[in-house]
Assembly symmetry: C2
Homo-oligomer: 298 residues x 2
């Protein structure tokens, strides 16, 4: 199964449309003080691969949904992702000064404002879901539930906390897999779920998409661990080799580079297998994003 | 209009029931790593006046609602309040080491874990609303909207950002009123709104409750400013005189102590007037909480 150049072009076009929508959403968030609005926009706009939004659209395409009905929910998941990056970069967490080749939010706006910007980006995600008119209320309430579960105390924040508690300590592959699933995988999987919950009556399809979501979520972190030791700071646009230097357990440190690459390959096959359920055109964006994630160099 | 001892006893009893419910909600939040769960619980449980939850129940009582249908939403607003306190106390914000007479969350659990606990408490608020079975889905989606608007970029976080941008700078009474309304007032007002949105067809009542909510929200901050210069650290359970020392504009610094007290009195009258709409028994908890806020010594 291979992604076509057409798929890449059409997904790229969708991303441009989505980016404009996201900018408009921020512009329409009125009554926000200048400093806070600027710091939130800095964290959310003009950068990032929009992987989570793209995964939503790719899932929607596989299910025959109009991508535009997913735009507000895609804004919400990108806002959650942006909040997590702004807070992760803070001095008390990863203390990163560079993100996507630019100074991190707290370097530019100060630590207190970056904290608030992250807080407000999280809230805005739920506000956008609640205020949206693109999908029926029951779907949007379900999306609030999906996004909260994936990003909160049982999801992403939990992964961060497990990570924090294990710096300098040993961890088994199972423990690391669990941590990764919470820290990164849950939000990746939520992208798929946020889209399929907009479509009714999908028993078989749902199981396939769940398999796809889980494999891809873990693959994303495995390639991250591989890139952390293989890629340079220049290509990554952030400080590399950080995890290795700070003695954090990674898939590479636990199983070695070759076995991590083998695992990545297995996860890629699992994700692609789960897509076979759909016809070639419908699955084209899911295949493209799977390739994109597992073959990425930065 | 005066609060009765009966009102105080029945509201007190309700608070005990609610506290047990809140503890159960935290206990049922499963799959959370020990450290994160402990830090979240430390910020949320065993302390605090539960003013926002109580205001919800008082509003529900005025409208003839069973308080128990509001329990999950009350947990949600208390979680939002708790998150804001945990983040406010952080070194990059107010750098407070004492809260309710106990070490603040970051003093006890470290800065990174306190940041995550605050983040996760916010998410949990929305998760509890989305997962609740106590109210119909449409009401809960509206509650997500109310809570997000009141606490996010247009509400509480905005007030914090305005505050941050004005340390050491002058501010007019109007600007300070606007800042207070966002920083504290919106969440107080949201307590009233979260309850009345559960009841249908309330045009006049809604206007009265809006007047009540706004007056009380501002009163809460005015008395805070008065107490900041009048009360001792011992009574407050937190560092007092901090605002005055750090040159932050307050109602007292801008209009003087006497005029601030006059304003407080006016706001109290406005709040009580708005309650006249209800019969004596129905309004009893609203009257009690108004007295409690405007006459408090800490």
């Amino acid at each position: 199964m291979k992604a076509s150049p057409d798929a890449s072009a059409s997904l790229g076009q969708l991303r441009v449309q989505f980016e404009a929508w996201l900018e408009l959403k921020m512009k329409n968030l009125q009554g926000v003080s200048n400093e806070l609005h600027a710091a939130m926009s800095y964290g959310l706009l003009d950068g990032g691969k929009r992987l989570r939004a793209s995964l939503m659209f790719a899932t929607g395409k596989a299910l025959g949904l109009n991508p535009e009905v997913l735009f507000d929910a895609a804004c919400a998941i990108e806002a959650i992702h942006a909040y997590s990056l702004v807070h992760d970069d803070l001095p008390s967490m990863d203390n990163d000064v560079l993100r996507r080749g630019k100074p991190t939010c707290h370097v530019k706006y100060g630590e207190a404002m970056a904290l608030l910007a992250g807080d407000a980006l999280q809230t805005t995600a739920f506000q956008w879901l609640a205020e949206s008119t693109l999908l029926p209320p029951l779907v949007r309430l379900e999306q609030v539930r999906i996004l909260a579960q994936a990003s909160g105390a049982q999801g992403m924040a939990n992964g961060q906390a497990i990570d924090l508690a294990h710096v300098g300590k040993s961890m088994s592959v199972d423990e690391l897999t669990h941590m990764h699933a919470r820290k990164t995988g849950d939000l990746i999987a939520a992208s798929v779920r946020l889209a399929y919950c907009a479509k009714e009556g999908l028993v078989d399809t749902k199981a396939n998409l769940e398999q796809f979501a889980k494999a891809l979520g873990l693959a994303y972190q495995v390639i991250d661990d591989i890139l952390d030791v293989e890629a340079s700071s220049e290509v990554l646009g952030k400080t590399s080799g950080k995890d290795a230097m700070s003695n954090k357990p990674t898939m590479v440190s636990l199983m070695g580079l070759q076995k991590a690459k083998d695992l990545l390959n297995t996860l890629e096959q699992q994700a692609l297998q789960a897509c076979e359920h759909f016809d070639e055109e419908s699955r084209s964006h899911l295949v493209l994003l799977t390739e994109w994630i597992t073959k990425r160099k930065s």
